[in-house]
């Protein structure tokens, strides 16, 4: 069978890419949020031994790739993997494997339980056709380990700190530890008999938990807890940092509505091979955001 008789686009759809070496392919496997079970890893190892060259390549998006699989073995290898519940990844102009950090389930800093959210995004969007490649990331807090703002859609755990005057001893620690310098101590009557109050610069605040977790007297409490949604991030040849769609989205239903609206907007407005962020720049961020919020039936911050 010659290369010409194999439909390369169809192969890319199921995560198989032609290598430099004639007749050899990369098998890209799916690992939602970087999760694989021990039996799945064992099967991947077996398949790499049997059909590849006994080694794997770890991708930048938490996936595993088996390289050097001969085209005649692709189907058998895929079946062996499927038997252990290992699915193929995706290449080409479609939604790729959803990446996620471990999140609040195990991470001491986590604000968001990233795994259920990433599995839901996977169930809804994985492999769906898009104008260009489309990457979704979920990250549990502002430490941003899975780089929400390098992805077409990024969801980041977020909290809104709230100052509790009655708990505050005026030590000023929050002012000196805030990584963004977003907290200020203001002189003057706070209306309740104190001659000072602490205030947050909302525009500078990245909704992390430094102030709420370090305040010795819990005077910074977690107010709202939710998700920051980013749109239009990309690296690649023409990098673009993502734009914030909304800083705090409390309900998961609204998260899904905004993500769905963003994706449908991009599908209608994106040109072929144009990444989401570049579509946003061509159309204009404000216009794009207005249309997305209208579609989602949601309000801006």
């Amino acid at each position: 069978m010659s290369e010409k008789t194999l439909d390369q686009a169809a192969l890319k759809k199921i995560g198989m890419m032609r290598q430099v070496q004639p007749d050899y392919y990369v098998m890209r496997l799916k690992a939602v949020g970087g999760e694989l079970t021990a039996p799945q890893l064992a099967r991947i190892a077996e398949v790499a031994e049997k059909y590849g060259r006994g080694q794997v390549h770890l991708s930048t998006r938490q996936g595993v790739e088996i390289h050097y699989v001969h085209k005649d073995n692709l189907e058998a290898a895929r079946n062996d993997l499927a038997d252990a519940g290992v699915e193929m990844g995706a290449c080409g102009p479609r939604v790729r494997s959803v990446v996620a950090c471990p999140g609040s389930e195990t991470c001491r800093l986590g604000v968001l339980d990233t795994k259920p959210l990433s599995r839901e995004f996977d169930a809804r969007y994985f492999k769906q056709e898009m104008p260009s490649k489309f990457k979704i990331a979920v990250t549990g807090c502002s430490s941003n380990c899975t780089k929400a703002n390098e992805n077409d859609i990024g969801v980041r755990g977020a909290i809104d700190p709230r100052w509790e005057a009655d708990e505050c001893t005026d030590c000023g620690l929050c002012v000196t530890v805030c990584p963004l310098g977003a907290i200020g101590r203001r002189d003057g009557d706070d209306g309740q008999g104190r001659d000072y109050h602490y205030a947050i610069d909302e525009a500078a605040c990245i909704n992390c938990t430094i102030c709420t977790s370090l305040c010795p007297t819990a005077a910074w409490a977690v107010g709202r807890r939710g998700h920051t949604i980013f749109i239009g991030g990309t690296m690649g040849r023409k990098p673009r940092f993502a734009s914030v769609l909304k800083k705090i989205v409390e309900s998961e239903d609204e998260v899904y509505a905004l993500v769905e609206a963003s994706i449908s907007w991009y599908r209608e407005n994106g040109l072929k091979k144009e990444r989401f962020g570049h579509t946003i720049d061509r159309v204009g961020l404000e216009k794009c955001k207005e249309e997305i919020f209208a579609r989602a039936g949601s309000q801006q911050d």
Binding site: D166, E167, C168, T169, D170, C171, G172, L173, V175, T176, V177, P179, R194, I210, S213, L214, P216, T217
Partner: protein, 86 residues
Amino acid sequence: MQEQDHSRIENIDLRGVSCPVNATMAKKAISQLHEGETVRIIFDSGESLIRAVRSINDAGYRIVKSEQLDNAVAVIVGKGKPAERP
């Protein structure tokens, strides 16, 4: 055995001491305080300050004041029960 008097230690400059050694040195100094005494410790600003403060909090010591310096932060830490709130 006579207890050594460390109440004269007022300032500890941990600028240039990296994490986690800065936190360890800070906690050692605080542990030598008597109840009610405080010590002023200077840390470099940034991630290592955050980690040191977290470590001081976790150890049950009490931060009573914090002051911004050039690229550094001075933290006054005490041992014992927190002061009455104003």
